[in-house]
């Protein structure tokens, strides 16, 4: 039977091993989430990111043009007024690659990001806030594309 001292030593060693294996949250977050980027629907992406089924929220905003002249370069943004946000995701529903980006939020940055995506055709664009507690809150906007961004 282990003494209490031995048990604590073992626990600390195991925690150390877990940390170096990258299994503790801080390091795991920076790795490229392959399954999420392979997701073909918003639900698949949400599940792969470890979030619950996304729910609409007025506190999350997706920005972008109503009509994009050039589907190769569409400026879009994701932001939220909420606190306790782990990351902000951008998804383009009808793209072969639905998940476009994951922006990880820290205390040093505002939960507000802008980038440019390719859109193959007119589609809904989603900004999703993945909260620290696993909840997913989203906003959606339809962006019409006059010239598809993947060669027509």
């Amino acid at each position: 039977m282990q003494s209490r001292r031995d048990m604590i030593t073992t626990s600390v060693t195991v925690a150390g091993l877990l940390a170096t294996a990258g299994l503790l949250p801080a390091t795991a977050q920076a790795a490229w989430p392959k399954d999420a980027f392979a997701g073909k629907t918003m639900a698949e992406v949400a599940k792969a990111m470890g979030g619950s089924a996304p729910v609409v929220s007025a506190d999350v905003t997706v920005s972008g043009p109503d009509i994009a002249e050039n589907g190769a370069v569409v400026p879009v943004g994701a932001s939220t007024t909420l606190t306790g946000v782990k990351s902000l995701l951008l998804m383009v529903e009808k793209n072969p690659s639905v998940l476009a980006a994951v922006f990880d939020v820290t205390d040093s940055v505002e939960p507000s990001f802008n980038t440019r995506v390719k859109m193959g055709q007119s589609s809904n664009v989603y900004a999703v806030a993945l909260m620290n507690d696993g909840k997913m809150l989203y906003a959606v906007k339809e962006i019409k594309v006059t010239l598809g961004g993947c060669g027509g």
Binding site: Q29, A30, W32, P33, F37, A72, V73, V74, P75, G77, V92, N95, P96, S97, V98, L99, A100, A101, V102, F103, D104, T106, D107, S108, V109, E110, S112, F113, N114, T115, R116, V117, K118, G149, C150, G151
Partner: protein
Amino acid sequence: MADPMRIRAQAAGDKTTVRVLMSHEMETGLRKDSAGKVIPAWFIQEISASHNGKAVMTAEWGPSIAKNPFMQFVVKGAKAGDKISITWTDNKGEKRTDEATVT
């Protein structure tokens, strides 16, 4: 690896808006060349940004991000003269880091 990133970091009070323009093909891996051969996927997967050496932001991208990617974000607590450094890593393992000073 192509051209350096163009980074602009402008402070307004406690908030510094950082705009970055990167040079990268962001190939989806779904296009074919004129011979009918698939052009392999080649895109930036990971981004990290630091302020005076301290990590402030990371992002993970997929091939839906447009060619020559643009990104804008806001750093808190930076002031003129501080350094903002951005690093990207693509799916081939290539990396690039560029730095700018906050104005």
